[in-house]
Subunit: 315 residues, 2 copies
């Protein structure tokens, strides 16, 4: 069976956390198990799949551990936390997808690749960090961390919160390993959490940097690098909604990249969590991808073929 469609699927938080956002090991394991049933259906149907995933709540937990154990063991930087979650979530996906494929009599193998993503050290995000991470702390606890170079912001009643850069992903550094494994027939898990952020020094050497990369924007780059036909951004809603929260709210079913750019300019997606998903989808199609779909996890098999979700393609 020769795969006739190659798809990158970006899994959102609901594919890896409990219904209430819980990230106990058991809840993560269960959520990944449910998500992999849907992915296995796709693979069984002959689709070539590359998976990527978020890691926000998982990194949040690692930061708390860093903080509470800092008097005994040295904290690790944010890029290392990203690497840690690529290990754990990648491992969960390996076991769960192997099992779901075996249950369908499919012998396709799965591989997880530790993946770096190049960002620009002069990205404006590093001068004015805006992405909040980790938990709220009282000012008295945030101050010493600021003296160690971290940026924290007063967020009012809930306290202070660390903010970091969320720079533009420029290149999936380890894409060649993904491409090689895809060509050999593997389902590949890559660029988890948007990839481990690295910058290139003046000496040409790559080094990790403390930042958070939007996983959907990285997914769009990964999809291009992997030669994917379709990018599916799997989330917890069925469609992008125009006029969300207003009486005129309506689901967006099919749209061209140009129309989506117009809707962006009209600020239909400002401020919400949908903005980066819309941006990632439109970038992928503008760069030559056949189709991007923003869809619920439940519907990804239909979404791949443009029969569910918000479908972005040239008319």
């Amino acid at each position: 069976m020769v795969p006739h469609v190659r798809v990158v699927i970006a899994l959102g938080g609901n594919a890896m956390t409990g219904p209430d956002g819980s990230v106990t090991p058991q809840d993560q394991d269960r959520a990944v198990g449910v998500a992999m049933e849907r992915v296995a259906d796709l693979v069984a149907a002959g689709v070539s799949v590359v998976l990527t995933h978020g890691n926000g709540p998982q990194v949040g937990n690692l930061l708390v551990k860093n903080e509470l154990a800092a008097h005994v063991v040295p904290p690790v930087p944010l890029d290392w936390c990203g690497a840690q979650t690529q290990g754990t979530i990648g491992f969960l996906i390996l076991d769960a997808l192997d099992a779901a494929l075996a249950a369908r009599g499919v012998t396709t193998r799965v591989a997880t690749v530790v993946t770096r993503t190049l960002v620009d050290g002069s990205d404006p995000g590093f001068d004015e960090p805006t992405k909040p991470i980790g938990r709220y702390l009282p000012e008295v606890e945030a101050r010493p961390l600021m003296e160690h170079g971290q940026t924290w912001q007063d967020r009012g009643d809930r306290g202070w919160r660390r903010v970091v850069a969320s720079p533009e992903p420029l290149e999936i550094v380890d894409a060649p390993a993904v491409v090689s494994l895809v060509a050999a027939g593997f389902v590949v898990v890559a660029a988890g959490g948007g990839g481990i952020p690295v910058v290139r020094g003046e000496d040409g050497v790559l080094r990790g940097v403390e930042a958070v990369i939007d996983k959907d924007l990285s997914a769009a780059l990964l999809a291009r690098a992997a030669g994917a036909d379709v990018l599916v951004i799997a989330t917890d809603v069925d469609h992008v909604v125009l006029g969300f929260g207003t009486p005129d709210a309506r689901p967006l079913e099919s749209v061209t990249p140009a129309s989506l750019r117009t809707l962006q300019r009209e600020e239909h997606f400002a401020g919400g969590s949908m903005g980066p998903k819309v941006e990632a989808a439109v970038r992928f199609v503008e760069a030559g991808g056949t189709r991007a779909v923003i869809s619920s996890l439940e519907n990804i098999e239909l979404a791949v073929h443009g029969r569910a979700g918000t479908v972005i393609e040239e008319s």
Copy 2:
């Protein structure tokens, strides 16, 4: 340049920690940098390399974080800690080896694969765990953890310590991804910390299990699966020493697998840290490998060709 020799190198703790065993991020980074200079020399000389590495001190730190943050975030099991270290150490190796290769004008790419290792759920280690991990605690703190199913032992003056199974590695589950990447010309980092331990349930499904796998025994399996000619176990001494600590101490330079088995039976390696290294080396050659070498990290290039270290091969 067609690689004419394929080598698996198992890196010991000194390749990833400071001189005093320190595992601050800076010390890990520096130690990996030094080790990758030696590995890059090998790759530049046309040798096809697969790397594996230990993770003991790193997992120790993660267990402390688990423990000290347990009142805020849920602890993760030991198999997840192993997965976390595959991410971080794999990431450090990617950056450091890329840089060392670039400095030599070598364009070979490096990839890190999240790797599971199959163990037997009925391995005697699970009934009578013997491998100490993590830090010493007073009995009063160990007791509640025992009530949660952990095994702790009274270690005298220093306190109580958790012990876990160290089962036999049976199969490197993700070896096919390693083989595929090696065939495509990558240097591959795999089976870090011996691999993430998994057991196969009666339903045929693989699931993580709390255990520690000896990284050298896994390296021997990995070397066979990857079709390596040579296994190099890189450590902090130049040779295996017979009669270590006695007036008759002498370095072992060249030995056949049969002679090494005899020395094992005479308990020359009992109790020390050299036992599993000797066992891994002899297994690799008995199973058809051309040569196994136990050598200092500094000498790995000579070691590959049997010109340094303790060389185990048929005469």
